[in-house]
Symmetry: D2
Amino acid sequence: MAAANSFGKAFIVTTFGESHGRCVGTLIDGCPAGLPLFEGDIQVELDKRVPRKPEITSGRIEKDVVEILSGVFEGHTTGAPICMLVWNREAVSSEYAVIKNLPRPGHADYPAHVKYRGFNDYRGGGRFSGRITVSLVMAGAVAKKLLQLFGVEVLAYTKAIGSVEMKETPTLEQIRKETYKNPVRCPDQAYAELMEKAIIEARREGDSLGGIVECIALNVPVGVGEPVFDALDADIAKAIFAVPAVKGVEFGAGFKVAAMKGSESNDPYATRDGKVITLTNNAGGVLGGLSNGMPIVVRVAIKPTPSIAKKQKTINLSELKDATLQVEGRHDPCIVPKAVPAIESMVAITITDHMIRAGIIPKVLARER
Amino acid sequence: MAAANSFGKAFIVTTFGESHGRCVGTLIDGCPAGLPLFEGDIQVELDKRVPRKPEITSGRIEKDVVEILSGVFEGHTTGAPICMLVWNREAVSSEYAVIKNLPRPGHADYPAHVKYRGFNDYRGGGRFSGRITVSLVMAGAVAKKLLQLFGVEVLAYTKAIGSVEMKETPTLEQIRKETYKNPVRCPDQAYAELMEKAIIEARREGDSLGGIVECIALNVPVGVGEPVFDALDADIAKAIFAVPAVKGVEFGAGFKVAAMKGSESNDPYATRDGKVITLTNNAGGVLGGLSNGMPIVVRVAIKPTPSIAKKQKTINLSELKDATLQVEGRHDPCIVPKAVPAIESMVAITITDHMIRAGIIPKVLARER
Amino acid sequence: MAAANSFGKAFIVTTFGESHGRCVGTLIDGCPAGLPLFEGDIQVELDKRVPRKPEITSGRIEKDVVEILSGVFEGHTTGAPICMLVWNREAVSSEYAVIKNLPRPGHADYPAHVKYRGFNDYRGGGRFSGRITVSLVMAGAVAKKLLQLFGVEVLAYTKAIGSVEMKETPTLEQIRKETYKNPVRCPDQAYAELMEKAIIEARREGDSLGGIVECIALNVPVGVGEPVFDALDADIAKAIFAVPAVKGVEFGAGFKVAAMKGSESNDPYATRDGKVITLTNNAGGVLGGLSNGMPIVVRVAIKPTPSIAKKQKTINLSELKDATLQVEGRHDPCIVPKAVPAIESMVAITITDHMIRAGIIPKVLARER
Amino acid sequence: MAAANSFGKAFIVTTFGESHGRCVGTLIDGCPAGLPLFEGDIQVELDKRVPRKPEITSGRIEKDVVEILSGVFEGHTTGAPICMLVWNREAVSSEYAVIKNLPRPGHADYPAHVKYRGFNDYRGGGRFSGRITVSLVMAGAVAKKLLQLFGVEVLAYTKAIGSVEMKETPTLEQIRKETYKNPVRCPDQAYAELMEKAIIEARREGDSLGGIVECIALNVPVGVGEPVFDALDADIAKAIFAVPAVKGVEFGAGFKVAAMKGSESNDPYATRDGKVITLTNNAGGVLGGLSNGMPIVVRVAIKPTPSIAKKQKTINLSELKDATLQVEGRHDPCIVPKAVPAIESMVAITITDHMIRAGIIPKVLARER
């Protein structure tokens, strides 16, 4: 059972393709029929993935153009599987020959080599590359289009890069309007500038930075999630770990709950305009694995890009002895900005899957064509 | 697709039962044939679940006695599904009548009521009760027995309760020998005493505490995990969220990676006695969703028990208006000690599932009976 | 991935238990909340399984009494998993010692021994016993109770035993009222007598008989089934093969379509009272894997019970040489009557699963409790 | 849970594409790493699908050219998902406008229209078209290449077309060498000529024919199959129903077992050269859902192509009243020849899936690259 390239039970996303192969693609099975869908809907989201600022990204800036191959007919989804892909154009594989035997610290190179006994496509990290997030974002675009019809909105933004961390909580309006105005995807332009500087500085040193992404899902109906194992937070956590470089996930007050008392962490209920709300949101919108109607708030720790220009200790896999490595190739000095739409996508995909499972999103969206 | 009471793809654990129903049970499908298994193997683990110290637990101390109903023949597993259960004996349901309409803040009461429209068994939290961890621990006992044959060991312990947090990293020997010598499951007896005091103090105030549990898996072979979606860390994270009250999960350096540089967080490779190791373990044993041969280290944030004796704001569900609630019944002032074996079990179950998927654990354990 | 004891994707039935173990059980995950359910509802169906006429059954007539262990609260399903079981009481295992090394022709003994390397519980066939149909019938009882609410009715009956085959097609009324009036489950009492005689005759010779069961599902809404792989006929066929001794499955005109012309086999459409019908039903109610609103008609070939009193050629597994075997123990001379409710159950389970998947059966059955 | 375009649990085949869309494709997740694979391996099997004889096929003869998009690197599978497709070139969609409101009897048009409320791509049958078998054959080609390494061979051939049925059982040699020498895929050239004539005759009448395909799998190891629900025969049956127009499936003696006695249908065991065999094969190689080492023999009933030139009774969907229809477009007068490689593929896919599940086919095929 190595087969593990699908996520979801009702809105099933399967990804394929490699960093330096012919394409990266995604296949959605279970999308309801009747959703208006055009390549432009996907393209808009794809375009958010790559900050077009050379100083803070890898030299490889592809114009990723999506093509829908199936499942859409006369501008609407049909209920059949939707296959979409982006052809790879700019890959320069020669730079990667060196890593075949010298695994990069912090990368999957070594365990992947052992697992697949050398048959994996190691070029550019192959299936373990950040480029795979193209597949996630394409699927996320469809999920977000669906969620929109049901009033659900998913927003992610950069909260910290390296030691630069936003202290204030941004407003929703700020997140919606400001996040994509800068290449680091931070909704506060002052912090954004500091973050950008930190990245440029790290790059100059041949080093890299990590950070924290926060994602918020608004208007998720009460009771979404399927206990005990397919709890909403459980599935969101799992989904987010599909984004490369994630090392931690927390909801609401997160790790801070450890030092709180029950009387502090419990969110008291109240009614507002005939609706049930909680006065605080330490739970991050999830109780017992079920959405409780409050915003779902999840924070994600992203490690610094492992590919750095500095000399590092590694081993030579063919001779099994110590070695040193200086990674060439074009690498992002900070993967956090690219992680923002990928995390947003995975959260949207998970909520979509669960809203279909809960019967809230129907199999066919319109009464009749 | 509400069906969500199974976890795993090869070693599939399905749980059933409610806090105040007839029993809590677990059904394992996919356990290899030929594993020596007796009820005593399960009982040993079950007994670890309940700290037998009335001051820090709920008044309900059941002697949970496991019965194996199927899948074992002449002292060995047969390859058929293993059904096990513990009969409930001590439940006092009358205390729960009040919460039917007054959802407890921090509990699943409210979203569960909405989701199941009042049909859920609300007594003692029903399926959302901490008692459900009995099912997890029974399944974990089988997983641990299997893993033992392959040299894999899984150890969990309490790292923090409330504001008492162990500063030093305990040795493996310490964790193995000291953890269960005190009711809080902390491998350092001095910290354990402080933690116990903190719990008793919180209880006296009618309040409750949370904490942090760390779990370590040793000797997991390199290459376990199935990218891209069934990554080992992704599945461990999902598994752990099945334990009630979990609000965050992090691996290795966890959220600290956000402020590290690549040159700090990358774990350099080296060889030791012909084996590949890393000189640090910021990755927590997982790279690209695959085990890398180093200890798998995961930390879990547990919120304070939501059931507290203090008066709390809630709503009346039948009239949909504000109300106050003072929770009666017997409740743990801190669920962390009970979470320790549950988290250990979920990690063991996930690794077992993946080692079977990877073909490392075979379908039949012995050549011939 | 040996785990294979679950069927369905939305209404998931998992069975456990062995012929001579402590019990046979079933666990349903995904049953909607709000279904009135009592043990009596299950018992009625279980009682249909065993024709209480010693001449045509095995000597082992257990009074199978169902117990519901979970998932039901105050007379309604809760949405949590429903675990049910029947304790085994009458098993006489000593008779089976002989078959440990002498596999019975026509039984799973030999391939099971190879697969599980001797660890399988061989007593009475273990997991391969006809007794396992108790689990199927318990789950089927819940499915039928659910389907009833949506007007769907599933009816099975014996069409042939040995060379005695009903020539006329029975009316629905006849099937509903007459089937269980005789021990062979044939809706025509004249044929039933002939079938009974044939069984008694075969038993006298130390031999056994097979037969044909027909199953009809009425009022299944149009469009149930999920192409391309979870086609309704595909899943019904798979489900039926879980009943021991099945060797063939056909829908509508079945194998007869091979010799028909398109102009004969195509079922012409017409409207009746504003409803679309077909004037014939060669399709057996399924087109392109989707229900078309006509009765779903499926016929099943059942082989003669392999356990016969006659001397048979076999092999000695421990010495791997030719041997002879005369099967002792209590065996049904014809398993067809017991297969009738089991096939009915598997068809009902499959349709229930698909009606939940299609969103026709909701997650919660009533608006509010 | 409409998502249903995947088959298998370890070797997971997902298909996509429509008859008149941009392409038909297949995605294999779980193929072991290290299998030598070239587009030519797939092309060979694809070319078998279309009998290049205009008299007996639809006018639409595409040169289907496969492209592998992912999962193969330097001539070997990598363990990553393999996406393959064939671009559609020759579709003439205009002919299908008429059927949008006039469902063709015997086709999925009507239930599909109801299910998807008019959003399904109806052109050429869309997802319900025989063209979808291109996806099955591409996946089957990979499965067969894998099985070959383990000595397993899967062979299918036409046994009957209309009333012309082979009376003799062909030898394996005959099936291997003669089947594809004629456009009807019958291993006996005399019968083949009669079948061809029958098809031409039916076509002349504006009518169509069905038939019977037999498929044999050789050298499947003993013990393949996962009871109780993923029995080998159960999964093969389900798999075969994915081929359009299938109405029945039987194993070994099939429906004939109904009239046999146990002493006739039981296959006696014997040893030959230290191997266990059965002296007859009424079981068709499967006992209790497990392979028993004998050839797996399955027969499949295929209905006549529903698209016929004769005038037929139908209904007008928009006005819901009776109508008549005369199907235009290019249609096969007999789909049996195209079903042969599709059925062979589905049997090969199922056995591959189960041999991986049983651990007989490993995750990586070679020790090291």
